[in-house]
Homo-oligomer: 348 residues x 3
């Protein structure tokens, strides 16, 4: 499936090997020693390949697929055509993700971007006082400043800049052109290209004749397993720290203000913005371009629709939308009422 110019494929793997890696079980009757060479969608799969079914609307594609094996939920077992080996999973999409990770491990966390994984390039700019762990990769043009500490196995890509005294944990990836300052980064963190972490929060004592800068004396803490999308900006705290909780996934071009704290496992879609001192609970989801006003709390598990503006506290588990954001039902009701109003105006 994937272009071999860019993606290195591992394998083949036997059905038994795959089952153990993807949290699935081989269905009765299948030959566990069958070798699987790749993953593919149902309609594009060839002999020897593994596909998955997660939605009954693809039942027809399932019936006619050439795939040799398929990941499937227990409830769809009856739909299976003859001759296909089944890997039964309670979370088929998750199992598919794990299968794809198995075949294409570099696509989970890049080994390098330049072409010399494991090398500390002589063309990198590494300060004498920096400490670099075993097996780390420092690419040409990367900048590792005084007092920086980098854990084993981490990759600092070309033109990335780690400012003075920043620390990066193990097996983390700092993409090309990303800049980190006043920050501590955990393990297995992925920071994509152009991310800006640790610059001053936007704090001024406004007034005449000049706006006086409030020194921003906090840091940015990026916990383990976080992923941060391209050109996203995360300001350091004003006094307290800005904290991105473990396992949180942030998309591209997101703005995160000073002192913001996110819980673990949050999902923040592209072009969203979280103003200073706002707090997200665990597993909060923000749709694209959602905006959160400063100093607010969004409760655990709350979901905010894309393009909404949150200006009040959001209870745990709530689903809100609109501008200003409110419970989704109220918001939808208002949209419909306005639509009717517009139509009525025409009839008159």
């Amino acid at each position: 499936m994937a272009d071999s110019r860019f993606f290195r494929r591992e394998g083949p793997f036997t059905l038994a090997q795959l089952a153990s890696r993807i949290e699935a079980e081989v269905a009765e009757g299948a030959d566990t020693s069958v070798e699987i060479t790749d993953i593919a969608p149902l309609d594009g799969a060839q002999k020897g390949e593994l596909s998955f079914l997660d939605n009954p609307k693809y039942a027809t594609a399932f019936e006619t697929t050439k795939a040799s094996a398929c990941i499937i939920a227990p409830k769809f077992l009856d739909l299976a055509p003859k001759g296909i080996a089944l890997l039964v999973s309670h979370q088929p999409y998750r199992s598919y993700a794990l299968a794809a990770q198995t075949f294409y491990p570099d696509s989970v966390r890049p080994l390098d971007t330049f072409g010399n994984p494991g090398e500390i390039s002589a063309q990198a700019h590494v300060h004498a006082s920096a400490q670099i762990g075993e097996g780390a990769t420092i690419e040409p043009g990367a900048v590792v400043s005084a007092g920086v500490e980098i854990g084993s196995g981490s990759v600092i890509s070309s033109a990335a800049v780690l400012a003075k005294n920043v620390t990066v944990g193990r097996d983390s990836y700092i993409g090309p052109g990303a800049c980190l300052s006043f920050a501590h980064v955990g393990d297995r963190v992925t920071i994509h290209s152009g991310v800006r972490i640790g610059q001053d929060g936007f704090g001024f004592a406004m007034g005449l004749p000049t706006h006086e800068k409030i020194p921003q004396l906090g840091r940015v803490i990026i916990q383990d397993d976080v992923e941060i999308g391209a050109n996203t900006t995360i300001d350091r705290g004003a006094g307290p720290d800005t904290i991105i909780g473990a396992g949180t996934k942030i998309d591209n071009l997101v703005q995160i203000g000073h002192n913001v704290v996110t819980g673990q496992g949050c999902v923040i879609v592209a072009q969203s913005g979280i103003a200073g001192s706002a707090e997200l609970g665990d597993y909060v989801a923000l749709g694209a371009r959602a905006g959160i006003l400063g100093h607010l709390k969004v409760g655990d598990g709350a979901q905010i629709a894309g393009r909404s503006s949150v200006i009040h506290e959001v209870p745990a588990g709530a689903r809100w939308g609109g501008s200003p954001a409110k419970p989704v039902r109220e918001w939808q009701r208002e949209l419909i009422a306005v639509q009717k109003l517009g139509k009525r105006a025409v009839k008159k």
Copy 2:
């Protein structure tokens, strides 16, 4: 007009030379051998300079201009003062663009940013396996990784990073600090500074305890004559490719998700966002901050007003606006109805 510190001017050109370059004709009676030295707006032009008239509201400026020549539509010929040479064009603004390109060719596509055009800098970081075409410029601090191919005449600016196996066609310009990975770029493409192309799309199998990354196994294809604005982000495909159609122009800080396909000649204004797997037809125009939901189609030639949120398929040729977006008339009607409602509330 332009500051000679930054802009190199060519010329002078005779009226005849200009006419042939800008798709215009010299009006009867004008001396085609007159030399023109520069372009300028009607009210600022001096003797020897070329201006243009595209809007009758500038008729007064036209009457009193000191310009020696003017580009003009046939319908405005009557407005012309005596003594000015006229270049008649059916698309005066387009002709003006071509004239400005003639006088200031470097402003169309930079020859370099550092000051040594045509040089492959010894301070660039070029992998031994990279292939660089004749006449290409590779500036200090630029990073050209393993397996990269660069066509003749292309410019890779300082601190730009081309990751492993990326290809760039002929006469393209990659601005300072731009990063490309998993991408193929065509001819005559302009990529401004800080653009991020080819990083992972935002794909996760959401769940507890962790969100599992879906490997993103597609590429980004940038076709010929595309222009991409500063700090814009374009994610690579999840399996299929992300494709930017020929001649499409994208402004700054735009987000384009995985698997998005745009037709040719689209225009996407600043801070817009196109979610994953959405598709734009040919010559679609998105105003500033328009948002397109994932998996939607926007038909050929459709125009979306700034700040609109498109959540339904848009027919070809339609003009939509609002949030959610709808035909412009409906949207305007609703805005007016709400305005009246607000005013009525005051009267009560």
Copy 3:
């Protein structure tokens, strides 16, 4: 308070020294020779530290604070507990900012990001024709192109790129990975990482078969004491210049189009966008994600609420909000009217 790994603290300072630096007066009876070692919030302060009170809701914290001194407005003098030295200021928050700047001077304008302040790194890429003032810092991987002029005391961080003929004044800071072209930058300017200044404005003569580029022949002028947030983009003018007025503060991920002119002391919060040829007066404030349509004027001192879309001229001193933006009262009235309409629909 601040992590000494990242922040260098100066001091101690006597009460008398501080008073003269922060535009405050020592209240009667206080020992002006007391030494103050740091700043801290009321509830976290220890003996020897300076805090501030600006809001009566912290009166309780004020009564029990361990701080040795406190900045306070005259009107709150009665609330002061015994034994605390008071610095009386008519602008306590401003005085606090000045105090914090006194203790942490590097946090106002960084001396460097790499660890060798005052050094012109041999690993920087400096063109032979560039002129660098005394005491400037040029960090490893920074790019200083032909004809560039840098004033004394300025810092050009790693991976920052100054393109041909750019000028930077004195005591300015160009953050890591920022790129400037076709630009003149004043004194004491702070440009954070990833900022893009001077690339082409988005100007095309739209049409078939191709959109023809309008050469962008203006510059960007950044006046003194401006601050520009991470990954913000400022396009150069089309013919006139793009101008950012003295003392203007711009947050992260803001888009500023060609020919925009801002007055002095404007405040532009994150993710806002100002379209081409728009003009802001002096001391205009834009909330987060405000959008200003092209060719409009926003009068002196006007305030625009976050997420508003301005499509009409805004009078001086006005407070507007909404989409399209209107006086705040009208906007609020419409929001309430729509809310009622939604509720009424349910009752029926």
